[in-house]
Symmetry: C2
Subunit: 387 residues, 2 copies
């Protein structure tokens, strides 16, 4: 299922192969986020064209819309969205805590109100697995309790206890209801906020239950970036080397490069599409706000070093005009370029590991890529205006 | 410049070749509308892929945004939008009367306030030609006065008098400022509202000045469809057969098929993209509102008989979900399919003329295509909510 082909000699970066029903993927990889069964603004042709290996989608959103009956009728999520490569589905736990109105949280499960129509729903861990079986995703994430930041020790402790309880029930239900267990992979999620003792306990618990891969959850929830990396560096050595490691919801390009160096295999973030829809592009030198007036007469491409079709053919001036006139095509161009940038970054990372030059690659990337650890106030306000 | 290859024996439909600097086009053709230097939601790759021969853009909109300095800097409109096939530019006359706030209208020109920032501008016919020369469009439309519907005889008479005056000045300026006259074609526009005496007078005037092609303007401005066809049938026989004939702003697919039968060579309308962005698709059987709940579990394509990539790969259920969740990709899919439908319709029309079976094609098309002469109230209200 997961094979490590090569481990970097100086860092902990590793090159691997992850095999699922819908295809074989090279790790480390990036998963474009397709919350509503679509990577915002992009078709599956676009994703195939840029070399996406896998797409992430979301149980909570799909359960709300279009609803499971439609997906079942279509023959699963792959068929529904016309994507026949691997899919990973998030459990919806994070959305229940962040997006929906949480009504009641007990060991039994979680009661929440849809963010759309206020309708009440109840998810048990078993319900979530059952939904993900209908979705037919290649990699299933179980229901977990994601503690917010900041969170006191007591609250974080309660969250890891419940996450472990739910992980056990998820695995049991998953095993008892799999005619062919190899068709889907089930991952475990490690919680524990920023407390080392809790992270250690959660890791032990989840490892003991045993999963096909391990995700570090409850990160990138508002904590300082260096604290996030401390958590990562603490947890990773506790994990077995023989399973894929997924750092959930990370991050900016420089953060990904650093995390690969710590031994992470899988990444997802909505940053490239979200920033794209807000008029910002990622380039080899850092972020560029194409919406800004300074690009009005800039006849150069978004990124001189990029070979995506947008950079091959369209100027900053034109794309800025599209964004400025609220033309949808501008959002698509920026989203396409940004996702391409992330996918291409992973390709370069894998090449560097393979050619035994990842440390040099990392050093050079971090030196030339403007630190994006801090977002400008303008960008933060833009992000809240998400379409 | 314009050659007629074939004339249908029973109707007045004709097959021709129109040659411009940026390419040779087969008539009759449809021009997708790219008001802001973009056919809404579509890239120029999309347009090339579906066989678009020419795109229409708009002087008024481009003058307001991005402004002429940016287009000049880019090297013209073709380069700015990365489209190296022919372009036709509307004079902006219609927009000055419909979109902008009209301040003053004299024989000298028109003073208007930008619909965006309220800034005052003054356009003379010479200004408009001068702008279109910077744009570098292959086919230039001169400034005209488009009478509204309804309009009394006196008002319509004043409009044709001024349209003639401006047409003369436009041609003079165009000729005096062309280093190489063959690089751009200048069309004349016939006005006259629904009054036959005025249409006749306007046609005589415009023919006497002499242009590279002739457009029937002031149609599809709210008058009943049959009155529009009466105007068309009255004016067309007054025109010389040796020049291209452009029926401005028309129309629904069945109207285009009928107008081809009357001898029209060129069409433009924003209907396919506008309806697409509002969740409606064109099919061989008529319009289908994909947004509607009845398509929730409809696993068939938009149009079984269509071979566009959207119909080859995506279901009504999925596209309905995209529109329902306000995903931009849904608007792109519907716009793509709809423009493809129009372009493909023209291809079929040309084939039918070539194979001497246009009357049969027309009869069969009108029999199987649901009459769309009347818009539903829901659709009308949708159209006003244009993004």
């Amino acid at each position: 299922m997961f094979t490590i082909k090569q481990v970097d000699q100086k860092t902990k970066a590793r090159l691997g192969i992850l095999t699922t029903t819908h295809g074989v993927m090279e790790t480390p990889f990036f998963m474009p986020v397709g919350t509503n069964a679509v990577v915002k603004t992009l078709s599956t042709e676009d994703l195939l064209g840029m070399g996406a290996q896998i797409v992430l989608s979301n149980t909570y959103h799909l359960f709300i819309r279009p609803g499971m009956e439609v997906i079942r009728q279509a023959g699963g999520l792959h068929a529904f969205m016309s994507w026949d490569k691997p899919l990973l589905t998030d459990s919806g736990g994070y959305q229940v805590f962040s997006l929906a109105k949480l009504r009641k949280l007990t060991d039994e499960g979680v009661e929440f109100q849809s963010h759309l129509d206020g309708k009440s729903h109840f998810f048990t861990p078993e319900d979530v697995i059952s939904i993900e079986k209908i979705l037919g995703s290649d990699i299933i994430m179980p229901l977990d309790e994601c503690a917010p930041f900041p969170c006191d020790h007591k609250g974080a402790e309660r969250a890891i206890r419940r996450t472990t309880l739910w992980a056990k029930r998820s695995k049991k239900y998953f095993q008892e209801n799999s005619s062919n267990r190899n068709n889907q992979l089930l991952f475990g999620i490690i919680q524990g906020a920023t407390y080392k003792d809790l992270r250690e306990k959660s890791t032990e618990d989840i490892l003991e239950i045993g999963f096909d891969g391990y995700a570090i959850g409850g990160v990138s929830v508002g904590e300082p970036v260096e604290l996030m990396f401390e958590t990562l560096k603490f947890v990773l050595p506790l994990l077995s080397e023989n399973f894929p490691r997924y750092f959930m919801g990370i991050g900016m390009p420089d953060q990904i490069v650093r995390a690969v160096g710590e031994g992470v295999d899988m990444f997802d973030t909505s940053i490239p599409t979200r920033y794209g829809r807000n008029g910002t592009a990622f380039t080899r030198q850092g972020r560029v706000v194409i919406r800004n007036a300074e690009h009005t007469q800039d006849m150069s491409p978004i990124d001189e070093s990029c070979d995506c079709f947008v950079c091959q053919k369209y100027t900053r001036s034109y794309i800025r005009h599209l964004v400025n006139t609220k033309e949808i095509l501008g959002l698509r161009f920026l989203s396409y370029h940004n996702v391409y940038f992330y996918i291409n970054l992973m390709k370069k990372i894998r090449q560097a590991i393979q050619e035994n030059r990842f440390p040099e690659f990392k050093k050079e990337f971090l030196a030339t890529y403007s630190s994006t650890l801090e977002e400008s106030k303008e960008e933060q306000s833009l992000l809240t205006k998400e379409r």
